[in-house]
Symmetry: C2
Subunit: 299 residues, 2 copies
């Protein structure tokens, strides 16, 4: 097996000195006019693709990962799905890893189809995908098998960044643990015998839950964390050291809206102003995280 | 509001004397050769679309609903997504209701994008969509709001048909209920004040769990059930009365593989043989269900 997602991430995060994933959640209403109004005949899906290319060109030297969120593409129908695939290809051509934020989950035969959709090497295949565990472990196994065959990664939802994550994930069971611990334990079972520093079976852990971030880092020793929730969702950057190991590895910190739509610019800003703001937000986030890691968690 | 999914389903199921949804899970390896080899230049996505049209033409007079499973289309990339949309349009043009089996679920802003993707009136919009509750109630609300605006339906996963459904959904909580009961209670909250016989907020309940089918029917009085698991998955048709109310309403029984790929034919069968087998399976399932409902649950 030549491809190994977690190793690639570690290498690239060292090379670029960045633990950041830029979330590609293109929202037509917030895309600046120098892109959306450049050509009146552009379809929404073209505007989305052009915006993504603009962002990718800016951030490709500074971050190892981008994370397209499928909903924003599906919303635009098959042309949106095509723009998603072109975005993936473009990001890969710029040397970026791509995590498809799809949160898929289904019964075995269907889960196999989803695993092939995202983790095969076909056109549109990505480096890693997010997976929803509500249907049970048999719905996750096809993704794990596909990951073992291809070296691609998966991130299983354990504790998501939204406040509603408490409704199911935090339920205390009759055994005294929580529902999210059951999911965590599947991941431990599948990764504890891994020879790698980090296996390709990771976890989604929201940056909005400091206590859980520490607890999960302690128990999931062989799993990369994909960490959404910094920025627009309110996760405190000062707590982010909790998802890293003692060497400053083991986590991908995602930011979407704060980088795509910086507060300092508007849809009317010029291309130069907008580009500067995006770059500035990206570098600021890199610097904040690196500073915390250098200072062993002291901000 | 003119469109009302649950009312339309009740009307159409009476008109066609059928409670059946035909699942459109096109699997290239099982599509008969008279379709897959008709033209050597057809793309896989064209073959899938042609197979779906063949099935839809056969079943449209006999069932009220078809249910495309998104995974089988996403597996083929954007062209697959386009075939999904063309399938939806074709089914609607034949007077069928369409349930998109997507099992989406995400944080609020993203859930809104998914809700618009599936339940808006744009090209590719469907009659109802399936939704995954693992992210919590705030991930479901955007679908409920979209449903209230458009009259479209949603089916929230409560108890799925796979054996792994026990892993999370059946966990006993410290309060003595189960995780799936928490999801059930959200649905009760959102539907109990509905003036309709059945609201547009439904539940997915697998046909492989007789006890849970009865329990959930008793408590979710205002929700249509979408019931997968009959046929290839092993659900016993004799137990199917459990998901219907005393008047024989309230459930959509899905069958996918048993109708699409009948045991009596192979990929080498002729068009006439295959068509006869598909029709025969469809009518057999209608008849079995109707007989049970007429006999008040006695097979």
């Amino acid at each position: 097996m030549t491809y190994n997602f977690s190793q690639l991430y570690e290498q690239m995060s060292i090379e670029k000195n960045s633990k950041v994933s830029v979330g590609l959640d293109p929202n037509l209403e917030r895309i600046p006019k120098f892109i959306s109004e450049k050509s009146k005949i552009d379809l929404p899906s073209d505007i989305v693709l052009n915006f993504n290319k603009f962002i990718i060109d800016l951030v490709a030297d500074f971050v190892p990962v981008v994370k397209p969120q499928l909903a924003y593409y599906e919303k635009l129908g098959w042309r949106g799905y095509q723009s998603y695939e072109k975005t993936v290809e473009y990001a890969k051509s710029k040397g970026l890893l791509v995590i498809a934020d799809a949160k898929r989950g289904d019964i075995d035969s269907t889960a196999t189809a989803y695993a092939e959709a995202f983790l095969s090497d076909r056109y549109g295949g990505v480096s890693a995908v997010t997976v929803n565990p509500y249907l049970g472990k048999d719905s996750i196994i096809p993704f794990i098998e596909q990951s073992r065959q291809t070296g691609k990664g998966l991130f299983i939802l354990v504790k998501t960044s939204n406040s509603g994550s408490q409704d199911i994930q935090d339920i205390v069971t009759s055994r005294g643990n929580r529902v999210r611990d059951v999911v965590r334990d599947w991941i431990i079972e599948e990764t504890e015998n891994s020879n790698e520093k980090y296996s390709n079976i990771g976890a989604v852990v929201g940056a909005t839950h400091p206590t859980e971030m520490s607890q999960l880092r302690m128990s999931l020793k062989k799993s990369l964390f994909l960490v959404p929730g910094i920025g627009a969702q309110g996760g405190d950057i000062k707590e982010i050291h909790r998802v890293f190991d003692e060497n400053g590895h083991g986590a991908v910190i995602n930011s979407s809206r704060s980088i795509l739509y910086p507060d300092s610019v508007t849809v009317d800003s010029t291309k130069e102003e907008y580009a500067e703001a995006v770059l500035c937000e990206t570098i600021k986030l890199n610097t904040q995280i690196n500073k915390i890691l250098l200072n062993n968690g002291q901000y």
